[in-house]
Subunit: 286 residues, 2 copies
């Protein structure tokens, strides 16, 4: 395989993630080709200097690329894999940036033999979406999960790792099941909690006009990810159902336990458990 610096890279989907990746890669490979079915997004990516050239022709563009990165919602990635695979160059690398991996790797497993597939998931995101929110520093210092398949060659994995390093991220090889389990709790559960919080306030306190003046910083942070792009999150929820369901039902149990302690006024046990939780949070973010 060619080194990254000599590769032509096609980035399919010029939203927050794809646009940021394209912009961060540009100049670190032979060429970045931006692909989006929306011509306005392609034009904007050119305007912002994120891509060397752009096209709305997905299939044409990937035929010439040494690396194709799919940066669309998860179920679109699954669909595109089947359509794009047969059109790719011999030995080309086909990656994705989707937040769930099991379903994507199932689809990658049945790609034609001449393609090298590699699952990818950079651990960064914002509650904003679209190319206007793209930022070439988005990946800086972040973990970039790589999930190879048994058929993925060591050279293809190395090239994926080079791409992660090139955008400032730290590659970390994690198998699909483990990644889906971990992000189910660490990334997808927070989304459901944030949505439940907003939904609660919407149904109760929001009828009080004072609510807008009283909204505190705690609410803002705890609810932030409820502002995430719905299509993206819907695909995540529907392709990681089992892990999310398990994590969320466990969390309901923890919440109900804390509620019972509050209702019972069990000060000693509340103090002990809340102190342990606070300590855990401090260790997570020292």
């Amino acid at each position: 395989m060619k080194p990254l610096i000599d590769c032509s890279v096609a980035v399919v989907g010029l939203g927050l993630m794809g646009g940021s990746l394209a912009g961060a890669l540009r100049g670190r490979c032979a060429e970045v080709v931006g692909v989006d079915r929306d011509a306005a997004a392609v034009a904007a990516a050119i305007d912002r200097g994120f891509i060397d050239r752009g096209t709305v022709d997905t299939f044409g563009s990937v035929g010439e690329a040494d690396i194709t990165v799919l940066a669309t919602p998860v179920r679109t990635i699954v669909r595109l894999l089947g359509e794009i695979g047969p059109r790719m160059r011999d030995g080309a690398l086909l990656m994705d940036l989707g937040s769930t991996k099991a379903r994507i790797l199932e689809a990658m497993a049945v790609l034609p033999d001449h393609v090298q597939p590699l699952g990818g998931h950079p651990m960064c995101g914002k509650e904003v979406s679209g190319l206007e929110a793209a930022d070439t520093a988005l990946f800086q210092g972040r973990t970039f999960i790589l999930s190879p398949l048994p058929r993925t060659s060591p050279e293809a994995l190395d090239l994926g790792a080079s791409l992660a390093y090139a955008v400032g991220a730290l590659p970390l090889v994690v198998d699909a099941e483990r990644q889906d389990y971990l992000v189910g709790t660490l990334s997808h559960l927070p989304y459901l909690l944030a949505c439940s919080l907003v939904s609660t306030a919407d149904a109760t306190t929001s009828s009080d006009p004072l609510v807008w003046q009283i909204l505190a910083g705690g609410f803002r942070d705890t609810s932030r990810v409820a502002g995430s792009d719905v299509t993206m999150m819907l695909d995540i929820l529907l392709t990681n159902r089992d892990e999310i369901s398990k994590a969320a039902r466990f969390c309901v149990g923890r919440l109900e336990h804390l509620i019972r302690l509050v209702e019972a006024g069990d000060e000693e046990r509340l103090r002990s458990e809340l102190s342990h939780i606070r300590q855990t949070r401090k260790e997570m973010y020292p």
Copy 2:
């Protein structure tokens, strides 16, 4: 009553809130006296230029003050009110900064007649605590809830509002029940959700050493307030039990509803509800 600029103000409790208030008030009144049972906190407040003078003698200090502000955890406020009230000057204003108001206003209602009581709750906070985290800009642009009692004179309420304006905040008069209901959902519920999230991760994914590399920004924000001071939060939870219990049980219902939609793969309804939630969040923070 004297105008604020001529008042001597005693701030009891030199933590995050009290220290910040003292520092923000200094120079905008005749004198700021810092009071804390911890002599090191008093010394540090002097070092940081937050107070004109300081003392560990709570009762001595409040006898001379025109305004006393209690900036301790809620149940300490309730206890101090009974002890401080009789020692205060005739006509002096006695305020607090506690996050729950019903219990505090009950205690204020039985203060001696010569004292003017006024409940206060500035809507700002951090997950850090203590004087080292204090910041004279903490109140800038924030809502400062004022909860007067039937016995509070219009002049005393005006003086409280002047104090709020003096530290850069926007006073908002809200009665105690309404404030406890609103902050139960907007401030205390987020704490329980954040704690449940950390507790879930602690019990499940945290046994995987990769968890530390995968922790995403969504988890950090959603869990932030779980790092709040435990004694402060414990007092809040135990003095606003009914509202918090109602809000949290409602939220459990919303969360379980979303979980069921995910489990059922009910795409149409999920899309509709998540879109509504996203829109609501956007309206909250335009």
